[in-house]
């Protein structure tokens, strides 16, 4: 195996000149050590190694010249946290409150276990979960036989029930592959024949398509009728009708809130510093808020899953951060496109290692362009570059050229937690008892989340040798009023019941003080400007919080009994206000 890996790297022109040390462990884990010139080469080496048959995963310790990824020494922090002596006990610790951690927490709430979710950020859904296109993929694109393929299909289906129970918005407009080229149309027709006749079962790459329900082939006319704003004259379309759309942070918050309602504890601003391992079994975690002892630790830490695995001395994969940038277009274009659409056989997609991307739509009615997929060395680098937006604009323009770049109201990026096998890693640790890894969750992670959670509950069941159902589990999360969606009559009634719903705070999105108060006093309280935004949409519109920012800040300070200078945008030190200007100047500075 080692020879084959070396050979694969040597055969690559851009890599053959480097001295790369390859080792393979008894359990088929490849480790790469050495230095190359740029980051893409680091990633390429990882991928080449992962492709060699039999490799279980790749630990990539290659470095690129001039790129130093600082390693944090946590030993002092750990000692401090242990010395502080605050210790709690529970059955299960879930690390990470993204959509995966929250889905797992909610799934475990169905059983008689005490779960604590720890999250280093000040809110749930703070990382990749808040920065993706919200597509509940139909499952066509995943490679047959992978975990992604299986869980995507299952997860997609589960969303219907989930959205009813948790009262989050789910739409299923399907997703449209638009075809302009005859060669592409012929390929699509061939797929149609194979699907209809069942012949596809005999062709390995077709096996996933055979499993996906609701596929439709449209003529050019039908495509135009469905989406009149598409560019040019499509000759056909491939409509995957099961594609769903959600606001991803809303799904995550809904699952977290329902978990809390069913007894789960969430600890925010709690960063895991160490994983405790005693006698080959996990014994819990050390966080900056103290030690939590537990029988089971679930590693759902997104881009840091490899760091957590390393803390448990079970490092067998490397996460290579992949940045996806997205642009949002104002709601004034609501209804311009009905379905997310991409161009079949488009050039842009292939160059950039994405699953296509294109023009998508959010349930609220914003158009969404992107995402990109760029390999980057740093796990926290959520910057957006000019090249990203150029690419995104091209993607959007390939679908319709009626939307101008000037209609973009915001852009942002999320970091996808990809491993080198480019599949999900969902398994009980082979080294440490009680440790469950849920890693490498990239697209279609959101679509798969409910199925992943179910699978993890199965692993917990194995680990514990049985799980008792929680007879008091209530799957329903009650909906909260959304003023903007009501009729004028219903709006009037709501204001009569509670005048706070009569006070509009965010004018662009029509968000009332009542809704902001609901968010601040919910089961996972919103404590930052961004947390309020994710729960209510205040600040998501055209003026991007110019008008409502100061007012949301004022409400947060009042409700949380804080000084306005203590309110943050997104936790940590992200204060909006530096000082009270009525305080006297002391030694050239105003007192904060």
């Amino acid at each position: 195996m080692k020879k084959k890996i070396i050979q694969a790297i040597q055969e690559n022109e851009s890599l053959s000149a480097y001295k790369i040390e390859v080792s393979v462990s008894s359990d088929r884990i490849v480790t790469l050590i050495g230095e190359v010139d740029d980051w893409q080469q680091v990633v390429d080496c990882g991928h080449l190694s992962a492709k060699v048959k039999g490799v279980r995963n790749v630990v990539n310790d290659l470095t690129a010249k001039g790129i130093v990824i600082p390693k944090r020494d946590r030993s002092e922090e750990i000692q401090q946290a242990i010395a502080n002596g605050k210790e709690t006990a529970c059955d299960i610790v879930v690390i990470g409150a993204g959509v995966i951690g929250c889905a797992i927490a909610r799934e475990l709430a169905k059983y008689q276990v005490k779960t604590i979710v720890v999250e280093k950020n000040s809110d749930v859904a703070e990382e990749a979960t808040k920065a993706n296109n919200g597509n509940i993929h139909p499952g066509v694109l995943a490679k047959p036989g992978t975990l992604k393929a299986e869980l995507n299909l299952k997860g997609n289906e589960m969303y219907t029930q989930l959205s009813k129970e948790l009262n989050f918005e789910l739409q299923r407009p399907g997703s449209l592959n638009v075809i302009y080229k005859k060669s592409e149309w012929r390929k699509m027709k061939a797929i149609q024949v194979m699907k209809k006749t069942g012949l596809g079962h005999l062709v390995p790459p077709m096996r996933q398509v055979m499993k996906v329900p609701g596929l439709k082939w449209l003529t050019g006319e039908e495509v135009k009728q469905m989406e009149p704003h598409l560019k040019g004259d499509p000759i056909g379309g491939f409509w995957m009708t099961t594609m769903g759309l959600v606001e991803p942070y809303e799904v995550c918050i809904a699952m977290a809130e329902n978990a809390v309602e069913n007894g789960t504890e969430f600890r925010l601003n709690a960063e895991v510093l160490d994983v405790l391992v005693e006698n080959g079994r996990t014994a819990g975690v050390v966080t900056n808020q103290g030690v939590i002892r537990s029988e089971i630790v679930i590693n759902a830490a997104g881009v840091y899953t490899d760091t957590i695995a390393e803390m448990a001395n079970d490092r067998f994969f490397t996460i290579h951060p992949r940045r996806g940038a997205i642009a949002i277009i104002d709601k004034s274009r609501k209804g311009f496109l009905k379905t997310p659409a991409g161009i079949r056989g488009g050039k842009e997609a292939k160059k950039n290692n994405t699953k296509g991307g294109g023009a998508s739509v959010t349930p609220e009615g914003n158009l969404l362009w992107g995402p990109t997929a760029v390999e980057i060395p740093w796990k926290e680098d959520k910057s957006v570059e000019a090249s990203d937006l150029d690419y995104i604009t091209k993607l959007g323009m390939s679908v319709t050229n009626e939307i101008q770049r000037s209609e973009i109201i915001t852009f942002f990026a999320g970091i996808r937690a990809a491993d080198y096998m480019e599949d999900f890693i969902i398994e009980r640790s082979r080294k440490v008892g009680g440790l469950i890894h849920v890693a490498g969750i990239q697209s279609p992670g959101l679509a798969s989340a409910p199925a992943i959670a179910e699978m993890v509950a199965g692993l917990v069941n194995e680990e514990r040798g049985g799980l008792l159902e929680n007879p008091n589990f209530n799957p329903i999360r009650e909906p909260k009023p959304q003023f903007r969606h009501l009729s004028h009559e219903a709006q009037d009634n709501l204001i009569q019941k509670n005048a706070k719903y009569g006070n509009i705070i965010c004018r662009c999105e029509l968000i009332t003080e009542g809704e902001i108060l609901d968010a601040i006093h919910s089961t996972i309280p919103a404590t930052t400007i961004d947390a309020v935004k994710r729960r209510t949409r205040s600040g998501m519109g055209r003026c991007q919080g110019g008008f409502c920012g100061p007012r949301v800040l004022e409400i947060l300070a009042r409700e949380l009994e804080k000084e306005p200078t203590e309110v943050t945008l997104k936790g940590n030190e992200s204060y909006i206000l530096k000082a009270d200007s009525r305080q006297p100047i002391v030694a050239g500075r105003r007192k904060p």
């Binding site: 004034s332 926290e380 680098d381 959520k382 910057s383 957006v384 570059e385 000019a386 937006l389 000037s406 973009i408 109201i409 915001t410 852009f411 942002f412 004028h488 009559e489 709006q491 009037d492 204001i495 009569q496 005048a499 706070k500 009569g502 006070n503 509009i504 004018r507 662009c508 029509l510 055209r542 003026c543 991007q544 110019g546 008008f547 920012g549 100061p550 004022e554 306005p564 200078t565 943050t568 945008l569 997104k570 936790g571 940590n572 030190e573 992200s574 204060y575 909006i576 206000l577 530096k578 000082a579 009270d580 200007s581 009525r582 100047i585 500075r589 105003r590």
Partner: protein, 420 residues
């Protein structure tokens, strides 16, 4: 749901709305109501505590609040109905307004005439495409002004200002006076965006450097801002490699332009002018929908509040005349068009039959020009000439055309500017 009938509803209680309401009342309209979203009248003027307002109208330098106060007093004296903390959700083409507040709940207001006076909003960071991360510490100049002047808080210790429009310049001075270190003002264009007097009084007097043809290209810091990178730009406003400079700071103040706030106008489907980004209006500032008027920054962003008030008065007068049946809307309107070197004109249409003795035409030039002559032509024949020492894009120009110069059969009026 509460149902009301009013003669004139004015949406927005800033300088345009105040002037419109007062004028409508003075012209004999019985029931005028101002619908204002904030807790008090005055609009953005209330946070403008600097002076320089009202030079044209009152002949003295007032603060923004002082200027607004004159009008607010008049509104009270004239018993004009005011609804505060009130948001308009919808206007139908039958001139029915759905508006709401905590006290009245939802209201259905049937109006004889409507004046749109919603003002404008600030362009954001995304709209000027600044790359990098999204930490706290990126605020628009108006938001910073609100925090400092109204709420009494300082949003940073060291600031970089992007944009040399008037708001940026005013905030440079204001922040300096409050003890925030202003590193500099950066302007992507080769010429400053603000009024000459503001450059002198707000920057030069405080030794704040202005960097022209330079812009902020990147924001640093994941949660809290660590700094920005600035770079010089070329003729096409693209950053020049090698000129980048990192500036550590915790506040980036954006003064990168204003956009007329026209969501209600668009929803109502009034005809819009892509150049002004506001409704197309006639000599009474009436939009393409009879009985719906627009005034102030919703029409186009003016630089002086005096102009905003004037257009408010014109619209208020128009609304009164409309209700009194004094506007003849049967005849076709004449077009007012931007000629050479002119970016846009307001109003864009004139019905001479309805007009008063003279008509003010507001316009901006496309680029800086010295020793210019402004000419107005009626169907190609010159009807007015006027010389000015200088014409600058940031400074709105206004010329008054005598009605007698525009003959009845004329089709168009064109305003041009040329050197000489």
């Amino acid at each position: 749901m509460k149902e009301l009938n009013v003669d004139v509803a004015v949406i927005g209680g800033g300088p345009a709305g105040l002037a419109a309401a007062i004028e409508a009342k003075e012209q004999g309209v019985d029931h005028v109501v101002i619908l204002e979203r904030d807790v008090e009248l005055g609009g953005i003027l209330q946070q403008c505590i600097h002076d320089g307002f009202g030079l044209h109208r009152f002949g003295k330098r007032l603060s923004g609040c002082g200027y607004a106060h004159h009008f607010i007093e008049s509104v009270a004296e004239k018993a004009i109905d005011v609804k505060l903390k009130t948001i308009v959700l919808e206007i139908t083409d039958e001139k029915i307004i759905y508006a709401m507040n905590e006290v009245d709940g939802m209201m259905k207001i049937t109006c004889g005439a409507i004046v749109l006076a919603m003002g404008c909003r600030e362009r954001t960071r995304s709209q000027v495409f600044i790359w990098g991360t999204r930490p706290s510490g990126v605020l628009t100049a108006g938001t910073v002004q609100r925090y400092i002047n109204m709420e009494g808080y300082l949003p940073g210790e060291k600031a970089v200002i992007l944009g040399s429009g008037d708001i940026g310049l005013i905030m440079a001075r204001r922040m300096t006076l409050e003890g925030i270190e202003v590193e500099g003002v950066y302007e992507v264009m080769k010429t400053p965006g603000g009024l000459t007097r503001n450059i002198s009084q707000c920057l030069k007097d405080f030794q704040i450097p202005m960097h022209l043809a330079t812009t902020v290209v990147r924001i640093h810091g994941n949660k809290k801002m660590e700094g920005v990178t600035v770079a010089q730009v070329d003729e096409k406003r693209q950053p020049i490699q090698g000129t980048e400079r990192f500036i550590p700071c915790d506040l980036l103040v954006l003064a990168v332009g204003l956009i007329p706030e026209n969501e209600l106008s668009r929803q109502l489907e009034v005809e819009m002018d892509p150049r002004t980004k506001g409704p197309i209006v006639d000599e009474h500032f009436m939009t393409s929908i009879p009985g719906v008027f627009a005034a102030g920054n919703v029409v186009t962003v003016f630089d002086l509040v005096d102009y905003v008030s004037l257009t408010g008065e014109i619209a208020g007068r128009g609304a009164a005349k409309f209700l009194q049946g004094k506007l003849n809307l049967d005849l076709p309107a004449k077009d007012v068009l931007p000629g050479d070197a002119v970016n846009f004109v307001v109003p864009q249409r004139i019905r001479t039959v309805n007009a008063e003795d003279s008509i003010p035409i507001y316009f901006r030039v496309k680029e800086e020009m010295r020793k210019v002559e402004v000419t107005a032509t009626v169907d190609g024949e010159v009807c007015m000439r006027k010389k000015h020492p200088i014409a600058l894009p940031p400074e709105m120009m206004v010329e008054t055309i005598q009605l007698e110069k525009i003959h009845e059969d004329a089709r168009e009026l064109r305003v041009s500017v040329k050197v000489g």
